[in-house]
């Protein structure tokens, strides 16, 4: 069992490596790292839906596409600066997610998976068919301007690197807080046993929808960054395969944040290292998914189980009926009670 200082040291070291990386790498590798960052961002946003709430959602590229296209349209037609379009792109993706998820949210695991695949295909076909006359058909939209930050224009790969990874860092912090909040606990509870969660007064439909909307909001903002980085977007960038890659990154990561970063690197960075096998990379990717499920179905690094001090819980017990109360999640003493037990008895503390 690792102690807390070691964990913190590992995180600081990782952050330092990520900060220093572009200083030692050439333009090509910086670009690769930018796309690792974008995938990490998308995977972190999908992780709320798939990793935390256990909703099998394989249409994340659709929300990503909505965000990217909103940015591209606002930028090229209305000449909005890129950063101004970011919240709008996120909100548009979130609204879209709310509209499409509301009628299907009650579907069970694999049915939902199929429907979300259907949604991503419909979005792609709609984009190709130039829906509303705004999306530019199969050619997409080009001539998206570079983002500028208080007059400082972001053009070079290294500048994008810090922009994207800065965004990843912000997301990591926010989602870490989210995971330890009442909201995060509710999502985990739904993942373990949604019937029991419903029975304990968790509004399952509402929480699932919130997870969807939040994940879509983040994917939409990632879309803004993508559009700004590429300056050209086309429907083929948001194909079903993109959804599969993001999905696989989250599944293989196991659901922890560090796991997501590692598996984003494995999926996007490793194929670049193995250039000579680049044709076979998707083949290996599929094989890895099969082997992973047989060998280690919980993923590379599943999140640590939540731990609570029974003693401290009993001391400041003040009638907080439904929630598990203000437990300190870092503790690891003998009195700690594991909360995410298997389906049968998953009641926190």
């Amino acid at each position: 069992m690792m102690t807390e200082p070691i964990r913190i040291a590992i995180r600081v070291a990782l952050a330092a490596v990520i900060c220093a990386l572009p200083l030692f790498s050439n333009a090509y590798w910086t670009d690769v790292c930018v796309s690792i960052g974008l995938y990490a961002l998308l995977s972190l946003s999908l992780n709320i839906i798939l990793g935390q709430a256990g909703i099998f959602h394989m249409g994340h590229a659709a929300f990503f596409a909505v965000g990217a296209y909103v940015t591209a349209i606002l930028n090229t037609l209305c000449h909005w600066p890129i950063f101004w379009t970011m919240p709008v792109a996120g909100a548009a993706a979130a609204l879209f997610a709310l509209l499409v998820a509301r009628p299907i949210i009650h579907l069970r695991g694999d049915y939902l998976l199929i429907v979300t695949i259907g949604i991503v295909e419909i979005v792609r076909i709609a984009l190709i068919n130039d829906v509303f006359g705004l999306t530019g058909g199969a050619n997409g939209i080009f001539g998206i301007s570079r983002p500028s930050f208080f007059g400082f224009k972001i053009v070079k790969g290294i500048q994008f690197y810090y922009l994207v990874w800065g965004m990843v860092a912000v997301s990591l912090l926010l989602f870490y807080g989210l995971w330890h909040s009442r909201f995060g606990r509710a999502l985990n509870y739904i993942k373990e046993d949604d019937v029991a969660a419903e029975g304990c007064g968790v509004n399952v439909t509402q929480y699932k929808l919130m997870a969807f909307v939040l994940g879509a909001f983040w994917a939409g903002m990632a879309g803004t960054l993508y559009a700004a980085k590429m300056t050209t977007i086309s429907p083929e960038s948001f194909s079903f395969m993109e959804s599969v890659i993001i999905f696989a990154v989250v599944i293989l990561s196991g659901g922890s944040q560090i796991g997501v970063l590692i598996s984003a690197f494995l999926f996007i960075g490793l194929p670049e290292l193995l250039r000579e096998f680049s044709n076979a990379r998707m083949l290996i990717f599929g094989l890895a998914m099969m082997i992973m499920m047989v060998w280690r179905p919980q993923g590379l690094l599943p999140p640590r189980r939540r731990r609570y001090h029974v003693k401290s819980l009993m001391e400041n017990e003040n009638g907080d009926g439904s929630g598990p109360g203000p437990g300190s999640p870092e503790a690891g003493s003998a009195l700690a009670v594991e909360s995410d037990v298997q389906a049968a008895g998953g009641r926190p503390a």
Binding site: H106, Y111, A280, M292, M293
Partner: protein, 332 residues
């Protein structure tokens, strides 16, 4: 779409030259003719969907697993058919019709073996695991197959040689129907009837039905569940592979990603008919083919590939059990 197979091929020339003042009758007649052509085209495509959907629905019936790799087994069928017909020159040794028939059987057998091996390696170790692990494994298998085909054959599309397509036209109630369309419909109907008879009449068929209802009880009754599952993974992919060959001959053009679209549409068909239900998959497939052909012909051809997904979402919202599916206690 292959050359001149989409709807209004030919037929119009057969119309009696419209008498003056008789234009509206001619228009109605032309409309009917186009409608019937679209209907037949829909039935042909629907028959193919139904054959693929049978694989999904049978596997779902016994394992409660969506076999995502099924669409790619279908693609493998199409490519194997091409290889056997052209590279191994079966079509040179026999007359085209006989060659196609022989290859049809061979493709079905080969793809059945691949399906059998797939179940052994990718699904059997996960039999007792989380249901969704098996789904991910199936997705992995699908990506694997798709890329394996791409690596072996290259990332371009292939064309089935023209002389393999039966080149006769049948005049049916004043309609000029391409013979290949009727043959595809006939082949899929014969295969479906055969399967239906097997499932309903034979002892093994009864065992398959029993395992689908309750594997545990079936085992207690002395049915070897593992063997039944293997058998299902032989029959389903076999039919799917045969359907792949049929698509190759009907449309003339195949590519390594076609398994996804056909697979998802066939899966939609399976849900439409009620997943796990064998006659349901047949009806669902034919119905989806007809809906798609009519919608593409009369609403918007550009949205052709999206129509199936709209149908899928609608059916899951309105009636998740499908047309013939029984109501289960399971909350969908």
């Amino acid at each position: 779409m292959g050359p001149d197979l989409c709807g209004s091929s030919g037929g119009i020339a057969l119309l009696p030259a419209g008498l003056p003042g008789n234009r509206s009758v001619a228009r109605v007649q032309r409309f009917m003719e186009q409608f019937l052509q679209q209907l037949l085209n829909g039935l042909a495509v629907g028959g193919i969907y139904a054959l693929v959907a049978l694989g999904y629905t049978m596997v779902y019936g016994v394992l409660k697993l969506i076999n995502f790799a099924h669409g790619d087994l279908f693609t493998i069928g199409a490519y194997l058919g091409l290889t056997l017909l052209v590279s191994c020159n079966f079509s040179g040794m026999l007359s085209p019709m006989l060659a196609v028939l022989a290859v049809f059987v061979m493709v079905a057998l080969l793809v059945a073996i691949i399906g059998f091996l797939l179940e052994r390696t990718a699904y059997r170790p996960l039999r007792n695991a989380n249901r969704l692990s098996a789904v991910v494994s199936a997705l992995g298998a699908s990506i694997f197959f798709q890329n394996a085909i791409m690596l072996i054959y290259g990332a371009r599309f292939y064309v089935y040689p023209d002389y393999l397509r039966p080149d006769f036209t049948v005049h049916l109630f004043g309609l000029a129907v391409p013979g290949v369309r009727l043959l595809v419909i006939a082949a899929s109907v014969i295969l479906m009837l055969g399967l239906w008879a097997f499932i309903q009449r034979s002892r093994t068929g009864a065992a398959i039905r029993a395992v689908a209802i309750d594997p545990g009880a079936a085992q207690l009754m002395g049915i070897n569940v593992d063997r039944i599952i293997s058998l299902v993974f032989l029959i389903g992919p076999g039919l799917g592979g045969a359907a792949g060959l049929m698509v190759g001959i009907y449309y003339g053009q195949i590519d390594f990603t076609m398994g996804w679209t056909y697979g998802l549409k066939a899966f939609t068909a399976a849900i439409l008919g009620g997943i796990g239900n064998i006659p349901g998959a047949m009806i669902g497939g034919l119905l989806l083919g007809v809906i798609e052909a009519l919608a593409a012909g009369y609403i918007a051809i550009a949205w052709k590939d999206a129509i199936a997904f709209f149908v899928l979402i609608l059916i899951l919202i309105i009636r998740p059990t499908g047309i013939l599916g029984e109501r289960t206690a399971d909350k969908l």
